[in-house]
Amino acid sequence: MTLGDVERLERATGDSEQTFVMDETTFRAFYDRTARPLWVYLYRMCGDAQRADDLLQEAYYRFLRAGSHPADDAHRRNYLYRIATNLVRDARRRVRGVEVELPADDAHDAPVSGGDVARQVSARTDLGRAMAHLTARERDLLWLAYAEGSSHGEIAESLGLKAGSIRMLLFRARRRLAWLLQRGESRGTAGGGRA
């Protein structure tokens, strides 16, 4: 986009012409409720803050460009997460041969305020390492269920899966992550662990 384009379009955006189905006030309220958790989801799923920024913008753009949106807020949110999940999947496919993984050591870069800093950083690093060993779908499932507190129906809607399959998929993902975390802990202490 050139400067001239932006100037011309700056004038054009002032027009009364409706570009999206959703109006600005509704969008702002919806964005303020969803943007930060969605960014965290994207960041945790793609493993890169810059890419999460881009995907966030793209997800809202595609959401706005969609002809119609679900009427209630919860379904709208699931719809947005579905778009975001597909974007992350596409991004993973583009980085062919190089699996986009959750950053195992990124917690070192993040400022942690108050509390037991060393313990918190260590826990985040352990989680990052363990999550990196899961499949993308397992990460999606666990994050939506336990970070976002989504119901099985919401997860199914967000990930495009059958609601009836979520319980078993979540159970397996959870078991696998618990095992990885315990293995990590035991490696950090005496070694061994549950198989």
Partner: protein
């Protein structure tokens, strides 16, 4: 088949979500989690995920709703403009091709006279292949070809004017 859910899962989730787990919840729940594989996995997994989520959420910096809205508007309009200009570009290309063809035809037909005139000026211009074959073919096809040629001759300048006026907007 091993069970995949436990009736106490929600109690464990609530204790974690409210921050009571592990230090401020009752001994009975602790005892259950110790004994239940499902609930111990749950606690093992949910506590670090929630901690990480809350910390990352606290650190997350996202653009404002207004900035995101504005960028989306700009992009939508750019894309709309791009989509609208695609057929105009196609028409321009066709118009240019038609104009070039017409010009070549006129030059070819007028070449013998032009060559004579150039000869009179002392310039020895080359001889082009005889266009009489093409003329005979055109004459043989008669009316449809004549109408087609006339339409092209009329449409080409109109398309060019339209395309150029659209560019100025």
């Amino acid at each position: 088949m091993r069970p995949t859910e436990c009736p106490r899962e929600q109690d464990v989730m609530d204790a974690i979500a409210s921050g009571r787990w592990p230090h401020r919840c009752d001994a009975e729940l602790h005892a259950h989690v110790e004994a239940c594989d499902l609930c111990s996995d749950l606690a093992e997994v949910v506590v670090p995920i929630r901690d990480d989520f809350e910390q990352t959420l606290y650190e997350a910096r996202v653009p404002t709703a207004g900035a995101t809205w504005w960028r989306a508007q700009v992009r939508a309009r750019l894309e709309a403009r791009e989509a609208a200009s695609r057929p105009i570009r196609a028409v321009t290309a066709v118009a240019l091709a038609c104009s070039t063809g017409l010009l070549a035809a006129v030059l070819t037909l007028a070449w013998p006279w032009m060559r004579t005139w150039l000869w009179a000026q002392g310039i020895d211009a080359p001889v082009l292949p005889d266009p009489s074959g093409v003329i005979a073919l055109l004459a043989g096809r008669g009316l449809p070809l004549a109408i087609g040629a006339a339409l092209i001759a009329l449409a080409a300048p109109v398309a060019l004017i339209l395309a150029l006026s659209e560019r100025r907007h």
